[in-house]
């Protein structure tokens, strides 16, 4: 079951969840808070979320990936609230018989999460300003 959490994400725990003697390949993706974006300096991020819908969308995406790529296991966690520099904001871990499926499923999951799951990021810039990130809406 995908998780939305205000606590730091334990990546090692996710790996343990998906490893299996039925799988030959594990792929873990971590999204981490980058200090510089196009030359602008970030001090922290804040995540807002429409929890009920986000949870439901994550469950749908997980089920779809498990079926499409015959995954052995799949685990997804997204962080909410304040996330410091270098910390993990999202983690996707999948295991599969072979590596092609594991890479394809991991890539599709994070791409699709970023496209459809109602979660938003606020950049707290080093210059004291901050802004919600809404791709396609200019300042």
């Amino acid at each position: 079951m995908p998780r939305l959490t205000f606590e730091p994400i334990d990546s090692a725990c996710l790996l343990t969840e998906v490893q299996s003697a039925r799988a030959g390949a594990v792929v873990l993706f971590l999204g981490t808070t980058r200090e510089y974006t196009d030359g602008r300096r970030t001090v922290s991020l804040e995540y807002d979320c429409y929890r009920d819908m986000a949870q439901q969308k994550l469950e749908q995406l997980q089920a779809e990936a498990c079926q499409k790529w015959s995954l052995v296991h799949c685990a997804i966690v997204h962080r909410l609230g304040d996330v410091d520099l270098g910390e993990v904001s999202v983690a996707v871990a999948v295991s599969a018989g072979h590596r092609e499926a594991a890479f394809a499923a991991g890539k599709w999951l994070i791409d699709t999460i970023k496209e459809v799951v109602p979660i938003w990021k606020k950049e707290n810039w080093h210059d004291g300003t901050s802004e919600w990130v809404h791709p396609g809406i200019s300042e």
């Binding site: 999204g31 429409y50 819908m53 999460i113 459809v116 919600w132 990130v133 791709p135």
Partner: protein
Amino acid sequence: MNFEVKLFAGAREIVGKDLVIVSLEAGATVADLRIALGQSIPALRETIEHVKFAVNHDYADDDTCLSPDSEIACIPPVSGG
């Protein structure tokens, strides 16, 4: 008829509230809601053209009909991950 609309992120910040109540006629659609929100909250007018709406936790088309017991949310372009 009054409809509650949940707001998030930039839209919530512009409005200063996480919920707005919009008055629409019975049988109103998502398209009608978009127009009404832009008219009643001028600060949202630019943003509202770029948002999606969710009805009962699913993205809705512009011609989806709203019912007063649906859960309606305004979903600005997402940026999770």
